[in-house]
Amino acid sequence: MKRIVVLAVAAFLMVTTAAAADTSSGTLTVTGTVASSINLTIESAGGTTSGTGTASVTSALGSISKYGSAPAGFTLARGASNWTLSSTIGVKVDKANLTSTDYTLTAQLGSAPASGITWKLNGSTLSDASATTLTSTGTYGSTGSYSWDVVVADSAAAAAIDNAIDFTATSN
């Protein structure tokens, strides 16, 4: 009978000592720096465009002339000694991790305009020498529309008018 009791107690010990999961822990620290930024995109422009919605857009006007038809997205107005192609450029500036409430937008030609050609934005003549302010109270997240005129003098030589308009947005 003693043997039965010993077996019973041994079985109990076997059951009760099983299990109790082994555990461990550790810590991983994550560091970094959140930097503020703004992002400018050209949302629309006259002509046959490519790259809209990005910061680098190309607008092809094709062959233009005073007595021809206006390129897509442009209107053509004939004057006494010149003619003007008019359209708009949509510029959007988004912000991230920034408390600024508005921005200043400027534009500048990438190179000197061809003789007899005048580039205008919002009625202001652009140059390659200095930037022209288009707005100093731009609203983040909304597309601002700026009138765009290319004035061609009747005296201008028949040649390419290629140029670039460089926009710069600065948070206020």
Binding site: T17, T27, T31
Partner: protein
């Protein structure tokens, strides 16, 4: 009579052991008759971040339709001493020990909170396993230094 009493007591002891509820199914009674304190063998090592720090660098939004910046880092976590073959398996859990309210932290796609969540079951003990850490900062979050700490828990299976 005395012998019967002893037998009955032994049977009762046996039954109490066999019928004890399994903790995995809701039972919470602990078996206190442990033979000895288990030697861990499950210590955690961040193989690719030996100082226990992962630097996400400069987190800056680059534009686009997604209104958040996601920075990804990979850490290799080893459980126990290195071994050529797995020496058992374990469950890995993670949680935010220290949260930075400006960001969301995910490990292997699991969003971390202050409550431990399972990251991996059957993780091999002895082998380094890569885990993907994502730090997501929305565009409306303030700029400045970011600091969070991830707590890891490992339990044997």
């Amino acid at each position: 009579m005395r012998i019967r009493t002893v037998i009955a007591a032994g049977a009762a002891l046996l039954l109490s052991g066999f019928l004890r509820p399994d903790p995995a199914f809701g039972g919470d009674r602990r078996r206190v008759l442990a033979v000895s304190a288990p030697s861990s063998g499950l210590e955690l090592t961040f193989v690719s971040a030996p100082d226990g720090v992962v630097d996400a660098g400069t987190i800056q939004w680059r534009g686009g339709s997604r209104k958040a910046t996601v920075t990804t880092r990979t850490v290799r976590l080893r459980i126990g001493q290195p071994a050529p073959e797995p020496r058992g398996t374990a469950t890995v859990r993670a949680f935010l020990e220290t949260a930075d309210a400006r960001c969301t932290v995910r490990v292997d796609g699991v969003v971390l909170t202050s409550v431990p969540r399972v990251i991996q079951r059957h993780a091999p003990v002895g082998l380094a396993v890569p885990h993907r850490i994502e730090i997501e900062v929305p565009v409306h979050a303030a700029d400045g230094p970011l600091l969070a700490s991830i707590g890891w828990e490992v339990s044997s299976e």
